[in-house]
Symmetry: C2
Subunit: 140 residues, 2 copies
């Protein structure tokens, strides 16, 4: 159930969520996305190009972060714009627990037509992995 | 162009083909097949369960072997039955060349209604990887 525009103000926090990501997640995302770059599934290759480990697809992190907004808004269609910068990779070790991406969100601007700007903060081990992560959301 | 039934006899050989399979092939096949068993993409896991390396999906090998028949028959629809047993795994090392599956075929029986039985022999490094690999093919 989406919050009403009238009940939201600058500073309203969205529920923070944790998103686990394992090697299996990434093998699945390779097929789902069509992006089979070996940096996402081959540790030997990833290290050979200077990465600390296999890393998550940036689009995967972007998509997971969006769930914080869509779960809050109650409807994916309510998200009118969404953009991020990929600022830091999320390394994914070869074990069952993998890595965890924490995503927080906050209303940072009230716009016209009952729209609000939501700014997301996605972190892995306390460091931001997305920059300028902003969604424009239509509220009822 | 399919061979005519009248031109085929027991002992007629199908053109032998070689099928390369790499780790990338298997990550792709995970998504295509929906079979994400880690024995097909995680070397550490594969070895932990007693396999010599990551191994190819049996259905992948089965599918590649079928190409020898469909390429010969000129039409996938000409294959009326197809069955194999998975007798030996195909290990796939972590390099660009991967492994090669060699598939030979031979007409082993003339059947009614212009159908023939084709028996396939799929090998990896000289050892059979499929058992009782048989296709029933409709010829013109």
């Amino acid at each position: 159930m989406a919050p009403a525009y009238a009940d939201v103000e600058v500073g309203t926090a969205l529920p923070t969520q944790m998103f686990p990501v394992t090697r299996l997640t990434l093998v699945r995302y390779c097929g789902a996305s069509g992006d089979f770059n070996p940096i996402h599934w081959n540790e030997r290759f990833a290290r050979s190009v200077g990465l600390p480990d296999v890393i998550a697809h940036g689009m995967f992190t972007m998509a997971e972060a969006a769930r914080v907004v869509t779960d809050w808004a109650g409807d994916p269609g309510a998200v009118k714009e969404y953009s991020v910068r990929f600022t830091r990779p999320v390394p994914v070790p070869d074990d069952d627990s993998g890595s965890v991406i924490e995503v927080a969100g906050e209303v940072t601007e009230l716009l016209e037509d009952r729209r609000v700007k939501v700014t997301l903060t996605a972190t892995y081990e306390g460091q931001k992995v997305l920059g300028n992560a902003v969604a424009i959301v239509q509220l009822p």
